[in-house]
């Protein structure tokens, strides 16, 4: 299914991230790069708990551009995990 036909907006966001970061197109790599994320709970539900990490990303310019949006790298990775079914 192409990104454009995906209804869920977060899935679209996550897929877009993976298209230009193919080396992270792996659940293991993504979990490894977002410390503190549990595999037992949907990742999206854990985003509020990651707010400090997200803020630190913005403070240190660990940001990415997806479809023009400036996002924290952590947010993008969580969206990618969501797109990969977590």
């Amino acid at each position: 299914m192409g990104a454009a036909t995906v209804r869920d907006p977060l899935t679209r966001l996550g897929r877009a991230y993976l298209t230009f970061t193919p080396d992270e197109d792996s659940v293991a790599v993504l979990f490894d790069r977002v410390p503190g994320l549990s595999r037992r709970q949907p990742v999206v539900e854990q985003l509020p708990a990651l707010q400090a990490t997200v803020a630190a990303d913005f403070a240190r310019q660990r940001t990415v551009s997806i479809d023009g949006w400036r996002l924290a790298r952590t947010e993008a990775r969580v969206a990618a995990l969501h797109a990969l079914g977590h």
Binding site: P9, L10, L13, L47, A55, T63, I66, G68, R70, L71
Partner: protein, 522 residues
């Protein structure tokens, strides 16, 4: 005194100490400063006291470079009061950093500093009829204007602009008409500056033509050409019967470095619901005992250190209403599509339980770098008085576009860093922009997004101490000519991102002092 130029006998010569050509912001300021002095001043104005279509049509010409949605003749006004008859009244001086030369921009900087011009800015504030000379964020807050304070950061500085209702022609008409030493000649078009037959370095008369027929000359000790940023080079270049390249043009600089403030719909932002949106406030200020309304609204500027660190130029960011989007080059039909994309971010932000507000749009007015290829040229076509019309070849450099992109990105980062929400760089609907993820991709991208014009015409008779690099010297005198001065934004060697008129008025005030105390003192 008001004089109808059409009634001046054909072939006659009018004499004066000073002849000011044009009665816009610059011309009126100089005349007003000299009202009541011992100098005999003649102001030559092409139009009358109201708009006249035939006269306005003398401004017809063509944009041949960067597309502009307006016709050339509608971007300025050709009657008493000039373009202030329909300006928006935004007043803000140039930033001190705008006067400095930037190592990464060729030809940047002014021959003097902000501090040198500040005393004249104070007087300009009075002439423009704004409130106290304050433009800081705190002033805006004190007056009740709103904007999210979190946008102030080490990258951006919040400022308050003042919006005057003063139309120079209305406000200063009686000052000029009542002054015993001033004659304002209406319906009087300068078609050529005439250098003395025995001295090409001195203008001894100007040739005036009227649409009704009579032609006459004005002789004066000194002349100020204050006809606006496009008409200044037109008159200089068309003054070619004795000097074929035109007056002031020995180094081929007249008309070059034409600049505007390109505006771009820069970003859409989803802001926290509790973040105050940019709202203006109208307050009453006192000017010479008469209270009058002045608007106060917030803008964001790049800080000096951010400019230097990222090799950027001045930028001015404001929040805009979607209804004005059409005016800046993006259609209403496209607008909902842009907003639709925000659903993704909405979903992201909603995960943290933060309620998001309506998407907001932000516009940036950019400074463009001095560019010799961006220029005003004479065209073959002539106007009703036989004067060549102009081609305005407005151009942006690739660096101008890259800087716009980077500025938008800095803004989007600041929105997120401040915890206000998230922002998307949209660049007037530039779709290819959404595929730019890395700095290398910026270098390879076409960046051919739409830019709008602010109708601020600048740079065409630039100021520099050296005649090789400037048309006028630091006193606004044409290098090649002893008694010809230029008023208006044509002289700006670096434009900054501020609306130009307050600086035009400050420079005109300074020029009036110079004329009175030095040039015409004897």
């Amino acid at each position: 005194m008001l004089v109808d130029g059409r009634a001046v006998p054909d072939g006659s010569v009018v004499t004066a100490d000073l002849c000011i050509i044009g009665s816009g912001a610059a011309g009126i300021t100089i005349a007003r400063e000299l009202a009541g002095s011992t100098l005999d001043v003649v102001v030559l104005e092409s139009g009358a006291l109201e708009l006249d279509t035939r006269t306005q049509n003398l401004y017809k010409g063509q944009f041949v470079g960067q597309p502009v949605s307006a016709e050339l003749e509608s971007t300025r006004m050709r009657y008493f009061g000039g373009t202030t008859n329909h300006w928006a009244g935004n007043c803000y001086p140039l930033d001190p950093a705008d006067f400095e030369s930037k190592p990464y921009v060729e030809r940047s900087g002014w021959p003097f500093s902000y501090e040198d011009l500040e005393p004249y800015y104070l007087r300009a504030a009075d002439t423009c009829q704004i409130g106290p000379f304050r433009f800081d964020w705190q002033f805006g807050v004190e007056k009740g204007a709103q904007a999210p304070p979190e946008l102030e950061s080490h990258t951006f500085r919040g400022i308050a602009r003042q919006i005057t209702e003063a139309r120079f022609g209305e406000v200063y008409r009686s000052t000029l008409v009542d002054a015993a030493n001033i004659r304002v000649l209406l319906w009087s078009n300068v078609v050529e500056l005439l250098t003395a037959p025995d001295d090409a370095r001195r203008v001894d008369a100007v040739q005036v033509a009227t649409l009704a027929g009579p032609k006459f000359q004005v002789q004066a000790t000194a002349f100020v050409l204050a006809t606006g940023g496009i008409e200044v080079p037109r008159v200089l270049l068309a003054s070619n019967s004795r000097i074929p390249k035109g007056i002031g043009n020995s180094h081929d600089l007249v008309g070059r470095c034409f600049a505007d403030h390109p505006n771009v719909l820069m970003a859409l932002a989803l802001l926290r619901a509790d973040a105050p949106y940019h709202t203006a406030k109208t307050v009453l200020v006192d000017s010479a005992g008469v209270p009058h309304p002045v608007g106060i609204a917030m803008w964001l500027r790049l800080r000096r250190r951010a400019l230097r660190a990222s090799q950027l130029l001045s930028a001015q960011i404001s929040a805009i209403d979607p209804s004005v989007v059409q005016a800046i080059g993006i259609t209403q039909r496209e607008w909902p599509e842009l907003f639709e994309r925000s659903a993704q971010i909405d979903a992201l932000l909603a995960t943290s339980g933060a309620p998001t507000a309506e998407p907001r749009a932000f516009l940036v007015n950019m400074e463009q770098e001095p560019n010799l290829a961006s220029r005003v040229r004479l065209a073959r076509k002539k106007d009703a008085l036989g004067m060549p019309t102009v081609h305005v070849d407005w151009r942006l450099t690739r660096d101008d576009r890259v800087r716009t992109f980077r500025t938008a990105r800095l803004f989007a980062e600041q929105v997120a860093r401040a915890g206000l929400g998230r922002a998307r760089v949209v660049l007037s609907g530039y779709e290819a922009g959404s595929a730019i993820h890395t700095d290398e991709q910026i270098d390879n991208a076409a960046l051919d997004f739409i830019v709008g014009s602010n109708m601020h015409h600048m740079g065409t008779a630039r100021m520099h101490r050296s005649p090789r690099q400037g048309v006028v010297d630091e006193h606004c005198r044409v290098h090649d000519v002893k008694n010809l001065f230029i008023g208006g934004s044509a002289v700006f060697p670096t434009t900054g991102a501020s609306p130009p008129t307050m600086t035009i008025v400050a420079l005109a005030t300074r020029l009036a002092d110079h004329l009175r105390t030095k040039v015409l003192a004897a």
